[in-house]
């Protein structure tokens, strides 16, 4: 009976979902160094992990919407006094796109609207957290090849 109990506990432990699901993104050129430790994407300076979706198949001159999720509530609280700044930039051509619209649904869920990739090539989505003095305290760059 004791053995059956231990077996069941082991089974349960094996089925438990990890705290941070490993993101199996293809390696993307231009992404700033991010250690894939316990979370896929991370604002390193803040120690905040997040996932994003909506950029799986971006297309030229078609609006993309991005959802950012910070699964850990305590990490999301760290961002309370900060402001998210997000913009698209084409590093090889040296220009951006139209201003993005940021919608904070709750501390752990943020939507980015109005992402227009006006031409093919390499685009960077900059996700910056700024403090009250408008200084960037953490940045993550998503590289997107169209």
């Amino acid at each position: 009976m004791k053995m059956v109990g231990i077996f069941c506990l082991l089974l349960l432990a094996g089925c438990q979902a990890p705290l941070f699901k490993m993101q199996k993104d293809k390696p993307q050129k231009g992404v700033m160094a991010v250690e894939k430790t316990e979370c896929s994407h991370q604002w390193k300076n803040l120690g905040v992990c997040f996932t994003y979706s909506g950029l799986e198949q971006p297309r030229v001159n078609e609006e993309a919407k991005v959802q950012i999720v910070i699964p850990d509530e305590s990490q999301a609280q760290k961002l309370h006094s900060l402001r998210l700044k997000a913009y698209l930039w084409m590093p090889e051509h040296g220009h951006g796109s139209a201003p993005l619209r940021i919608e904070v649904v709750n501390p752990g869920v943020i939507f980015l609207h109005n992402l227009w990739f006006v031409m093919p090539g390499l685009w960077n989505l900059h996700l910056q957290w700024t403090n009250q003095d408008e200084q960037v305290v953490a940045e993550y760059v998503v590289a997107i090849e169209l």
Partner: protein
């Protein structure tokens, strides 16, 4: 003798129509060669009205790989321009060119359309190699300065989603160059080379004041023409590169990459009278390379030109 003089004059006038410059009409980042606004005839003044339709067909990556644009995504520019050239003294000319650009970007069901003033350019030239006596080889040579005022809206100011409001480069620039023309019987040859310096300017990007320092630009062309039917018609072909230097940004943004593109231009001109002419041009950036880091365009242009004799 008089028919020979008329013939030469006709060729000069036709050549002038083929050499009328284009207004700079880059979508976001394309470049083009642009022959300076010069009078190659003995005229007091010359007025040109141009209309061009330009559309982006492909993009050249940094490594030179060319990718065609999809048919659902259209990016076209309609540009009209007025150019006036006047002779100030013997061999000294000045010109002004005022472009108006309408840009249409269609992406599926999302069209963007806007019309704006483009970058106005001013030109002063001096004929340092006049053709006072006949020479079988010596061309006429013009040295010039071309200034561009950023009266159009640049990519750093455009706010609309499809960036259809871009109508200029966004920087003051000064170009120095030389142009040559030579008539050899039924044939003519022409060429130019220009070097441009652009001044840094501050723009507000994402709420941040950024000093943007564009690198130098260079362009050139060589071309020839043939008049198969007396002086009434001229067929021309020219080829030339345009190079745009890196753009540097203050702050954290990285420098952009340099851009290369080649223009191949075919033109047909028709001389109605000694004072009126028309030309049709076709320009294609996909025919010659290498092209680097730039959109590639095709263009059809119409030109009507009137000159006032001395």
């Amino acid at each position: 003798m008089s028919w020979q003089l008329n013939f030469s004059l006709g060729l000069l006038v036709l050549l002038a129509s083929a050499l009328v410059p284009r207004a700079s009409a880059s979508s976001c980042c394309g470049g083009s060669t642009s022959f300076p606004a010069l009078m190659t005839t003995d005229s007091k003044a010359q007025f040109s009205m141009g209309l061009r339709d330009q559309w982006t067909v492909a993009d050249a990556a940094r490594d030179g790989q060319v990718r065609r644009r999809s048919s659902s995504s259209r990016d076209s520019i309609r540009a009209s321009s007025l150019t006036a050239v006047a002779q100030l003294a013997e061999g000294v000319q000045s010109a002004i060119q005022i472009p108006v650009l309408s840009r249409e970007v269609v992406a599926g069901e999302n069209p963007g359309w806007q019309t704006d003033l483009g970058d106005v350019s001013l030109l002063g030239s001096y004929e340092f190699l006049p053709e006072k006596t006949y020479s079988p080889w010596k061309p006429r040579g013009f040295a010039y300065l071309r200034g561009v005022v950023p009266s159009g809206q640049s990519v750093y100011e455009a706010q609309d989603p499809l960036l259809s409001s871009i109508s200029g480069q966004g920087f003051y620039s000064l170009g120095v160059g030389a142009a040559f023309v030579k008539i050899l019987g039924l044939w003519d040859l022409n060429g130019h080379a220009e070097w441009r310096t652009l001044w840094s300017r501050r723009y507000r990007l994402e709420g941040e004041s950024v000093l943007i320092s564009p690198g130098p630009q260079a362009s050139g062309s060589i071309g020839f023409g043939y008049s198969p039917n007396g002086t009434k018609v001229r067929l021309g072909l020219s080829l030339g590169p345009a190079v745009t230097g890196r753009v540097a940004f203050s702050g954290t943004r990285p420098d952009s990459e340099a851009r290369w593109v080649w223009d191949a231009t075919f033109s047909t001109s028709y001389l109605f009278t000694d004072e009126w002419m028309a030309a049709v041009t076709y320009r294609d950036q996909t025919l010659w390379g290498p092209a680097r880091n730039t959109p590639l365009v095709r263009e059809i242009g119409l030109l009507l030109q009137h000159r006032i004799s001395l």
